[in-house]
Structure formats: structure tokens, C-alpha cells
């Protein structure tokens, strides 16, 4: 063995210990989680039986729905589960009171309500989505069985609330107290690692780098930005210290996005210079880039702790002065060597971007360092990140569910099937549960398969095992293998749906109620209804305008382009924060939706890059204009400001309707703006540190290079939309 030869001094005991810790860090986490799910489920079941709640299965199902590996997620889900359940119950009790005698009207209103909830679940992409799911799910869970016994509806609603609360209570206590895996720790870890990854990414690509790796890293940063935001909202429920830092964490995330956007702009500019023979400019820039390399070098791939961040901030403060000096020297050299105006502009733009990148890094380091304190002035950050899905996409999800419930409900009424209510109820529940994921059909199909096995196992346990059992411990022994299998499957991302289907629907059918009834015929009927409704729901989701097809990704691409329009004409308060986060959120969604089509994903990625470049430059332009001192040469009516406004209109036209004619018009508008701005006299020195117009010109020039880029998706839009025909 190689390892034992290399380390001969290690004793076998040591080996075993090392292997154990290795296991504890990887598979061990999964098994601890499985054990926690089992503990929580058994505790809930015992309490539900002891407290004589009528349906212990509802409480146990709650445990399975709420349980997550990280305790922060359990808290957040629990909170929204209670909220959603209360809303759903209130609505349902009211509906039963109004429509108890009119089953058709009742079904219609239920279908509309569940449809609205599904649309909400698809629209919000954070934990609020979960509240919507449960408002719809709980409503049907109470409402449909109650149509047969409206007189018992109120009491059964009260019992459901108690059962759900019990399940939530047990699962939160178990997940927080027994070997907790906190979201706060996961979040800290992700934050610390991210900066190292970013340093690596910058150093890797500063001198060229591979396009594929560059894109993959960018996609990674995008999904991390969205994921960290979800983690942040989960940690607020879990850790009081993280709650005190919530504003700073949001700010840090946003500053990181600004950082990646700025670096991306710099990288694109350098790439264009490289491909278009700007060697002299690149050479002049080299000493300035070295400055950045030296700062980031020590952090490459290393975690950045809070106290390291403070050191980094000090270092950056110092470097910034030196960088300024280097840039001045390099600019003097460029002025001597280069005659051409375009190349000088290239240099100025790149130098400005580099300088601002270091300033952004400094900001980021300061915010990161501020996390060490409980209270800090940087906490004051009010620009939230509210991830939302496409409105049309979510309305389609809602309409699909409404239609499905209506059709299934008609089938139930026409056939007078005794298990019809289960059939409709579960179709609604599944539609609500899967609506928030990018590929609902796949999850629904997995759940249907899980339910099928749940039916077999449930029937076998109920009629061959349970009759021989006596007492709660033996019941636990009989249930544990199924629960463990389901919990194990549900942590594996590829099999999550199987696990969920197995756990939820095994419990639904097989956990004995208080007042156990043995009725094989009824049980078979119920399980047939369950499997059928799941499969039908999966079919409907897959067939009726599935979100994984062209109509949605084309819409998302349009939304992505509209971000530029928003950057040009939106309200300026918090514009940068919303622009950065919404663009990434859209990208993240579109990437998930187009998961089966790498070519579409690449197209979307290119659009995101373009939108980020242009939008970011425009926001900088707007900020510059807002900060202008009160001088006659900066007045609103000056020709250069008019030229920038007309450029804005041309860009809006281009991004609403990409095409060669619009691109050329926008290009002409940008060039006109550059010329008029350069021709404007200014009372200060023509350095970009002191002169706003210099900075304005450099951003205009950046937009110009973006529009001229032969790689940009605007260029393929000119060849018609053939690429989207597929």
C-alpha cells in the first residue's frame, strides 16, 4: 500500500481513528441525519398516540416534510409551514361554511384557491414559496375529506393544526439539539471559502485563462450568490448572532456580486484588447495588474476569516495609493508612445475599471471584517434580495393545477369513487409540492414511483406485520426500516423525490390512526388512488406547458434583457443592488429550467454577461451624473447629457428588440455621446480621479467595446432568431 509505506510510523489504532473521522465528515453526516429523522418521527408518533390525536400520520408526515439536514432550514420551513397551514385552514373552514351543500361550486373554489397558491409557490423563490405550498396543501387536506362530513370540518381543522404543530415542535427540537448541523456554520464556511475561490478565479483569468473554466466559475458564483441568500434567510431563524449580522451578510453578498461584475468587465476588456492587438496598452497595464496579483496572491484558494479580512482591508488601503501612482506613471508612458485616441481610451477605461475593482475589494474586505462585531454601522443595509420567478411562468403553473383539480374532481363526482377525495387531494398536494422546482415533472414522477413502493410496503406492513405486534416499541421497530430508507433517499439530490414520496405516502396510508381500522378493501382503494393521482399529476405537469421547454426560457431570456431597460429607466435608489441580484436570480432560474439543453444554457450565459456589462456601465454612468457638482458645463441641458439620454433610448430599443439595425443605431448613439462628452470643456484637470467627464467617457467607451464585440449575442441576433427555432 502506498499510504502505509509513506507513513510507516502510524499505528493501526491511529489509522482506524483517521478513517472514522473521514467517514464522520462525509457519510457520517448522512447517517446522523437519518438517525435524527427517525428520532423526530418516533417521538412525534409516540406523543401523538399518547395525546390521543386522531391522526398521528399527519403529525409524522409533517416531520418528513419539514426535516432538512440543516437546522436553520428546519426552523424557516417550520415557521412558514405553521403560517401556511393557518391560512389554508382559515380559508377552508370559511369555504365549507359557505359551500357545504354545493359540491360543484365548492370544488371550483377549491381549485381556484389551490391554483392561486401554486402560482404563489412558483412565483416566490424563497421560503415564502413554502408558505404558499402549504396554504394550498393544507386546505385540500382538510377541505376535501370534510365535504363528506361538513359538520365535523371545524373540529378536524383544529385537530390538524394540533397535529402539525406537534410534528413541527418535535422536528425543530430534535434538529436543533441533537448533534446540530447549523446553517450558520454552513454559511460561514461558504463565505470564507468563496473569497479564496474568487482570488483563484481572478489570478487564473487575469492573463487570459480558459473560456470554459471562466464560464463555469461564473455560473458557480451566480448559484452561490442565490444559495447564500437562501442560507441567510434560514440563519436568521436559527442563530441570534447571525440575525444581528443579517444586514451585513446581505450587503456582503451584494458587494461580492458587484465585485464579480466589475472583474468581469475588466476581464472582457482585456480579452478584447488581446484579440484585437492592443499589445501596447496591455504592456502599459501590466505593472498595474501586478499590483492586483500581489494583493490576491496569498489568498488564492485559502479561506478568508474575519480577522484576515481586517488585515486584507488595511493592505488594500495601502495598495490603492500605490496603484494610483502606477496608473499615473503608465498613463504618462501611454501618452508618449500611443497617438491613437481609441487606444488611449482603452487604457483609461481599463485603468479606471482596475482602480474601481480594488476599491470594491476594499469595501468587501471592510464589510467582511465588520462581521466580527455584534453591532456595526455597516449593518444598515436595506436593499433586500427578493428572488422571484417569471410571472407568466407561475401563472401557468397555477392554471395547470386549477385545471387538473377540476378535471380530477369531475371524474370523482361522475364515478362516485369512494377514494375520489384522496385522488383529488393528492393530485393537488403533489402539484403544490413540485411547483417550486425547476423540473416539476421529474420530481412528480419520482414521487409517483416512491408512492408505488410506499403502497406495497404499506400494505405488507399493515396486513402481515402489524397484526403480530404489541406495543409502541415493536411498532417503531417495524416502521424504522422504511423511514430510514426514505430518509436516506431523500438526502441524495438525485433520488430526493423517491424518498419524499415513500415517506409521505407510506405514513399517509400505513401509520395506524387512533382507533385503528383494518379494512383491506378501503386501503387498497386508497393506495390505488394515491398512485394513480401521482402518476396523473406527473403526466399533466409534463404535458401541459412544462416549464422546462422553450417558451419559458425564451421568456427568461427576454426578462434578462429587460434588466438593461430597468437599469436605464428604473428608480435610482438601490438600483445597483436590485440590478445585480435580480440579474443573477434570473440567470440561476433560467439555468435550472434549461438543464437538459447545454446549448441554451450557454446562450443564456452569454446574454447574462452582456446584460451585466452594459447594465453595470449604465448604472455607473447614472451614478456619475447624479454626483456631478453644480457647474454650468454639467447642466442637464448640455449637449453631452442629451447625447447620453438619446443613447439610453437607443439601448432600450436594442435590448427590447435585438437586431443589426438597432445595434448600429445604438453604436452610433454611443459614439456621438463619446464625441460630445470629449468636446465639453471642464474646469478641472483631465485625470479620471478629478474629472467626472473622463470617467463618463471611459464608461461610454466600455459600452462601445461591448457593442462591437464579435462574440456578443447581439451579433447572432442579427442573423435572425434561427438559433431559437429548436
Amino acid at each position: 500500500m502506498v499510504s502505509s509505506q509513506a507513513l510507516p510510523s502510524r499505528s493501526p489504532l491511529e489509522e482506524v481513528r483517521r478513517a472514522f473521522f473521514e467517514w464522520a465528515r462525509s457519510d457520517g453526516v448522512t447517517w446522523v441525519y437519518v438517525a435524527k429523522v427517525l428520532t423526530a418521527a418516533m417521538l412525534t408518533l409516540w406523543l401523538a398516540m399518547r395525546l390521543e390525536l386522531p391522526q398521528p400520520s399527519t403529525a409524522t408526515i409533517t416531520v418528513f416534510i419539514v426535516m432538512q439536514p440543516q437546522s436553520g432550514q428546519v426552523f424557516a420551513k417550520s415557521f412558514y409551514r405553521i403560517l401556511g397551514s393557518l391560512v389554508g385552514l382559515t380559508v377552508m373552514v370559511a369555504l365549507i361554511a359557505v359551500f357545504a351543500q354545493e359540491r360543484v361550486l365548492f370544488l371550483l373554489v377549491v381549485a381556484l384557491w389551490v391554483g392561486a397558491c401554486t402560482a404563489g409557490a412558483a412565483r416566490y423563490r424563497d421560503f415564502r414559496s413554502y408558505a404558499c405550498v402549504l396554504a394550498g396543501y393544507t386546505a385540500t387536506l382538510i377541505g376535501l375529506p370534510a365535504t363528506l362530513h361538513p359538520e365535523a370540518a371545524f373540529m378536524s381543522a383544529v385537530w390538524r393544526v394540533l397535529e402539525i404543530s406537534l410534528g413541527i415542535l418535535c422536528s425543530t427540537v430534535v434538529s436543533a439539539v441533537v448533534l446540530p448541523q447549523t446553517s450558520a456554520a454552513a454559511m460561514r464556511n461558504a463565505l470564507y471559502q468563496r473569497f479564496g475561490a474568487f482570488a483563484w478565479f481572478v489570478l487564473d483569468n487575469l492573463g487570459g485563462g480558459q473560456r470554459q473554466r471562466f464560464e463555469a466559475a461564473n455560473v458557480n458564483f451566480v448559484s452561490q450568490a442565490v444559495g447564500l441568500e437562501a442560507l441567510r434567510s434560514a440563519t436568521r431563524f436559527e442563530d441570534p448572532h447571525m440575525r444581528l449580522r443579517s444586514g451585513r451578510l446581505a450587503r456582503l453578498n451584494n458587494e461580492f456580486m458587484v465585485l464579480t461584475t466589475r472583474y468581469h468587465a475588466l476581464h472582457q476588456l482585456l480579452e478584447r484588447l488581446r484579440s484585437q492587438g492592443g499589445e501596447r496598452v496591455l504592456q502599459a497595464l501590466e505593472p498595474c495588474l501586478d499590483e492586483l496579483r500581489e494583493v490576491l496572491g496569498p489568498w488564492k484558494g485559502k479561506p478568508l476569516l474575519d480577522r484576515d479580512a481586517a488585515a486584507l482591508a488595511e493592505q488594500l488601503e495601502m495598495r490603492r495609493q500605490r496603484l494610483m501612482q502606477r496608473i499615473r506613471e503608465a498613463r504618462a508612458a501611454v501618452r508618449e508612445q500611443v497617438e491613437e485616441v481609441g487606444e488611449r481610451l482603452d487604457f483609461n477605461t481599463a485603468a479606471e475599471l482596475l482602480y474601481r475593482l480594488v476599491a470594491d475589494l476594499h469595501n468587501y474586505a471592510l464589510t467582511h471584517a465588520s462581521l466580527a462585531d455584534h453591532h456595526h454601522e455597516r449593518e444598515n443595509w436595506k436593499f433586500g434580495f427578493s428572488p422571484k420567478a417569471n410571472l407568466v411562468g407561475s401563472l401557468v403553473a397555477g392554471a395547470r393545477t386549477t385545471l387538473m383539480i377540476l378535471v380530477f374532481g369531475l371524474f370523482w363526482i361522475e364515478t362516485a369513487w369512494p377514494s375520489g377525495s384522496t385522488f383529488v387531494l393528492n393530485a393537488a398536494a403533489v402539484a403544490a409540492l413540485v411547483s417550486a422546482v425547476p423540473d416539476p415533472a421529474k420530481l412528480a414522477m419520482q414521487m409517483a414511483v416512491g408512492t408505488f413502493f410506499a403502497a406495497i410496503l404499506g400494505f405488507a406492513e399493515t396486513f402481515f406485520v402489524f397484526p403480530h405486534l404489541d406495543g409502541f416499541p415493536l411498532l417503531c421497530v417495524a416502521l424504522a426500516p422504511v423511514f430510514a430508507l426514505g430518509a436516506f433517499l431523500s438526502v441524495k439530490p438525485a433520488y430526493g423525490g423517491y424518498g419524499l414520496g415513500l415517506l409521505v405516502f407510506f405514513s399517509f396510508g400505513a401509520i395506524p390512526a387512533n382507533m385503528t381500522v383494518y379494512d383491506a378493501g378501503r386501503m387498497l382503494n386508497e393506495y390505488i388512488a394515491l398512485v394513480l393521482s401521482q402518476s396523473c399529476a406527473a403526466l399533466v405537469v409534463a404535458v401541459l406547458l412544462p416549464p422546462t421547454s422553450a417558451w419559458l426560457w425564451r421568456r427568461l431570456e427576454k426578462d434578462l434583457r429587460m434588466r438593461v431597460v430597468e437599469a436605464i429607466s428604473g428608480k435610482s435608489a438601490g438600483l445597483e443592488a436590485t440590478f445585480e441580484s435580480r440579474t443573477r436570480d434570473l440567470m440561476n432560474q433560467a439555468y435550472g429550467v434549461a438543464a437538459r439543453r447545454p446549448d441554451v444554457q450557454r446562450g443564456l450565459l452569454r446574454w447574462m454577461f452582456l446584460v451585466l456589462e452594459v447594465g453595470h456601465a449604465i448604472i455607473e454612468l447614472r451614478n456619475e451624473q447624479a454626483r456631478l457638482p453644480d457647474e454650468p458645463c454639467y447642466a442637464e441641458a448640455m449637449p453631452w447629457r442629451q447625447a447620453i439620454r438619446s443613447m439610453g433610448r437607443a439601448l432600450i430599443r436594442l435590448f427590447v428588440q435585438p437586431g443589426e439595425a438597432n445595434r448600429e443605431r445604438a453604436l452610433a448613439a454611443v459614439e456621438h455621446a463619446i464625441l460630445t462628452t470629449k468636446a465639453t470643456e471642464e474646469p478641472c484637470a483631465p485625470d479620471f480621479e478629478s474629472s467626472p467627464l473622463r470617467r463618463v467617457v471611459s464608461y461610454l467607451h466600455f459600452i462601445r467595446t461591448t457593442l462591437l464585440d464579435p462574440q456578443s449575442p447581439l451579433r447572432d441576433a442579427s442573423q435572425g432568431t434561427a438559433s431559437h427555432a429548436a
Partner: protein, 71 residues
Amino acid sequence: MLLDDLPREIAFHGVYMPTLTALFVVAAVICWGIDRVFASIGLYRFTWHPALFRVCLFACLFGGLSLTVYR
């Protein structure tokens, strides 16, 4: 004392609930308030298992409150 004669059940919209249920909510609210204070003064830095500490705090509060009903 006022707390001495708390009834064991209270009526909520015609449903009789154990007073404990209401006390549970009261204890949760008090616990949340105390939790905020503890967090802002940084007490949780000195606890070994903050989550367990919070659960115990809640258990003490709830237990104490329920002593007013069942003695």
C-alpha cells in the same frame, strides 16, 4: 393572587383548550424576548450548546408558568 385561580381549560370560539396551550404561546413570546436580549449582549458566546440552552430556557419558563395551573 390572580394567577392562583387560573382555570385548567379556556374556551376559544367554543372549543375548550387546555390553559397550557395558551401558556405555551405566552412562554414562547417571553422566550423570544429574552432570547433577543441575550443575543444582543452576547451571552451565547459563553454557552456550550446555544440551541440546547434556548430549549432549556423555554422548558424552564413553560414549566414555571404551568405551575400556576397545576400544583
